[in-house]
């Protein structure tokens, strides 16, 4: 209560600054950002491509270190203090909230300048001046705070250091490094070598890295069976369609009043004759099931093969009546993988089985399984891969590890220890 009164006596802009000044300055930064946005349009992040980002980064670090020379500056103790940090965080909150409510478009896309939101850069928030200015303010404020706190290093502040240094590293390397990141899509046909890639605008580029696709393969989940209306194709019953998930360990099910028994299931089958299937593990194979359908109320029994088909084979259904028939659903991919060999200019080659969630790292590049010919599924004759070059990933991951340890500290220790040290520090500063 005493502090509140002191604050009331203090005039605006009279040191030490508190919330009123912090709010005014943060609002001012955002306002300047909007003015810049309206007059000179969005910030082109790719201006920061190396070596520009290295220079800017060095400048930021230099400015943060400079604060060591001005330990007693009242301006700096405000600039690194709690009220200003709350205001920057709030500004980030509001800007990203707008971003979350406005559909985002890719940077530099034309004919969006006619509406007011686009004029203010809402539809490309991370490339808009208010966001950029707040981002750099955060880097400077947080960086200076870290430098000041490290200058009077206390081992018991480890939670503070982990969280704040980790976050600063992620913001610094993730933001400034963004311009150096390259992402391309490469489509490679089976048996061929490819080095041409497409960027996100569809422009072709040649990379100093070549990929040979030896084989593309896909594993599929066993499909489901259901009864459909032969005229509308709707699964039955309409209100809540029944599906039987094929499972050789649970070969019975119920579909729209019929009892289903699966007598035989072949995951990779080809049609043997007009009405039979046999197992054949070849590219054009498709799942097929021999089933017996019994209607308990009428005693009717139907038996036969059901198959979902693919580009190489026709589907096969089991008719129950003039209106209804049993069908197999299209298979869902379980995993898809590319057997590849990668060549780099220095002569290194690496071979790997690429699949989703299991990328390959080679010479600064990371290669991801991206896609395939969806219409052909297993029969796809090509595989699409994404190539990502991100030279700033190491500091970002160091930051991640530090923040994760800091988060564990927060879970285990709660709020008390941190707060006490910070409050005593503030008193010393005053």
């Amino acid at each position: 209560m005493i502090i509140m009164k002191e604050e009331n006596k203090r005039k605006m802009w009279q040191m030490p600054w508190g919330y009123p000044e912090s709010i005014a300055i943060t609002a001012g930064i955002v306002f300047v950002g909007f003015m810049l946005q309206i007059t000179i349009k969005g910030f082109n992040f790719y201006l920061l491509t190396a070596p520009v980002n290295l220079v800017v980064g060095a400048l930021i670090i230099g400015l943060c270190l400079l604060t060591l020379a001005l330990k007693k500056s009242k301006f700096l103790s405000w600039f690194t203090g709690v009220p200003f940090s709350v205001c920057i965080i709030s500004a980030l909150l509001v800007l990203t909230l707008i971003m979350g409510l406005t559909p985002q478009t890719a940077s530099g896309s034309a004919n969006t300048n006619d509406n007011f939101f686009a004029l203010l850069g809402f539809n490309n928030m991370t490339g808009s001046w208010p966001f950029i200015l707040i981002y750099f303010t955060t880097l400077l404020s947080l960086g200076s705070l870290i430098v000041r706190r490290l200058a009077k290093f206390k081992i018991k502040d480890w939670g503070f250091y982990l969280n704040h240094i980790g976050l600063w590293l992620v913001l610094f390397a993730g933001g400034l490094g963004h311009a150096d990141m390259e992402r391309y899509i490469m489509h490679v046909r089976e048996g061929e070598v490819e080095w041409r890639v497409y960027d996100d605008e569809g422009t072709v580029k040649e990379l100093p890295i070549a990929i040979q696709l030896n084989d593309f393969d896909m594993e599929e989940y066993p499909p489901k069976l259901t009864i459909i209306d032969r005229t509308t194709g709707e699964p039955q019953p309409l209100s809540a369609p029944d599906y039987y998930q094929i499972n050789t360990k649970a070969p019975t099910g119920k579909l729209d009043g019929w009892v289903l028994e699966m007598n035989e299931y072949i995951h990779q089958a080809v049609r043997n004759s007009d009405s039979t299937y046999r197992a054949a593990p070849m590219p054009g194979a498709t799942p097929a099931a021999y089933i017996t359908m019994t209607n308990p109320s009428t005693g009717e029994v139907r038996k036969g093969w059901v198959c979902g088909g693919n580009q190489a084979q026709l589907y096969k259904t089991l008719e129950l009546s003039e209106q209804h028939t049993v069908v197999m659903t299209v298979t869902e991919p379980k995993r898809f993988m590319s057997d590849i060999e990668v060549y780099t200019p220095d002569g290194t080659t690496k071979s790997a089985i690429l699949e989703v969630n299991h990328p390959l790292r080679i010479g600064g590049w990371t290669i991801y399984q991206y896609g395939y010919d969806n219409a052909a599924g297993r029969l796809s004759s090509y595989s699409s891969m994404e190539l990502v070059y991100d030279p700033w990933i190491v500091p970002v991951y160091i930051g991640f590890i530090m923040i994760a340890l800091g988060a564990v500290a927060m879970i285990v220790r709660g709020h008390s220890p941190n707060r006490k040290t910070l409050l005593t520090d503030n008193k010393q500063e005053k």
């Binding site: 909230l97 379980k334 970002v396 988060a407 879970i411």
Partner: protein, 261 residues
């Protein structure tokens, strides 16, 4: 052990958890609560081990199987966090949510067989979701506490230090889990989609939510100042959290999000 025998393990586990969640409020039976909770977890673990051996692969293939793990980790991490912080409602809550996931598996058996798409087949999937659920639990409780505190301030003109201690702890622990969940999502995204952060609508909203709680944490560093602002921030942040969790799918800005399954 398979889904047909699941109920013979799930039911005793749920009964034990529920009993633990009830007796924990009686001061004299804290030890009993521990025993009941551990017994429930043990029975549940036994099923997972047996199920794993029976199907001859880790149970991570279908939605039903991932739900098995949510219940497991919620009960275990919830119990461990309860042991650290001694909030009885925490034990009840994690027991309740763990039971909800069990019930979904029991009553909606067709969901067991909903197959996981390749991108979801990652070791990060389950810890990512579990960590978020735990943080949501903490933040939900903190919001209730914030209203209790606001009422106290309005009636007596003074805040209760004990409630603020509780609120700050809840937010710190919740924020810790939130950050862990977010980081695990980042690492997973890097492995699966090529980048750790792409401002996907769900990511944008997760960022907005975390800024809300980060603002609370920093506001509270100067404890005696702006108490009401800090307290009102908690329900506001919870609304942001709910939009992140449930609302994003309905926003026009979220068309094409990778988080819609």
């Amino acid at each position: 052990m398979n889904w047909d025998t699941f109920i013979w393990f799930a039911l005793p586990a749920m009964i034990l958890w529920a009993s633990a969640g009830i007796v924990v409020y009686r001061k004299k039976s804290k030890v009993l609560a521990d025993i009941l909770m551990i017994a429930g977890i043990s029975i549940y673990t036994l099923f997972i081990i047996g199920f794993w051996i029976n199907i001859e692969r880790p149970p991570l293939r279908t939605m039903g199987e991932t739900r098995l793990w949510y219940s497991f980790f919620l009960s275990v991490v919830g119990y461990v966090t309860y042991c650290r912080w001694k909030y009885p409602w925490l034990l009840s809550f994690s027991a309740l949510v763990a039971s909800v996931f069990i019930c979904i598996n029991l009553f909606k058996p067709e969901i067991h067989s909903k197959n996981l798409m390749p991108a979801l087949q990652s070791i990060w999937f389950i810890p990512h979701v579990t960590s978020y659920i735990l943080s949501y639990a903490m933040f939900g409780a903190a919001t209730v506490g914030a209203f209790v505190q606001l009422r106290k301030i309005n009636r007596k003109g003074l805040s209760d230090k004990k409630i603020f201690d509780l609120l700050d702890n809840l937010v710190y622990v919740g924020f810790g889990f939130l950050v862990l969940g977010m980081l695990m999502g980042c690492v997973w995204a890097k492995e699966a989609w090529g980048h750790y952060w792409t401002w996907d609508p769900k990511e944008t909203w997760a960022f907005v939510t975390s800024m809300g709680y980060l603002a609370y944490i920093h506001l509270r560093l100067q404890g005696e100042k702006r108490e009401k602002v800090a307290l009102w921030l908690l329900p506001v942040a919870l609304i942001l959290l709910l939009i992140t969790w449930i609302g994003v799918n309905y926003l026009p800005s979220a068309q094409g999000s990778i988080h819609v399954y």
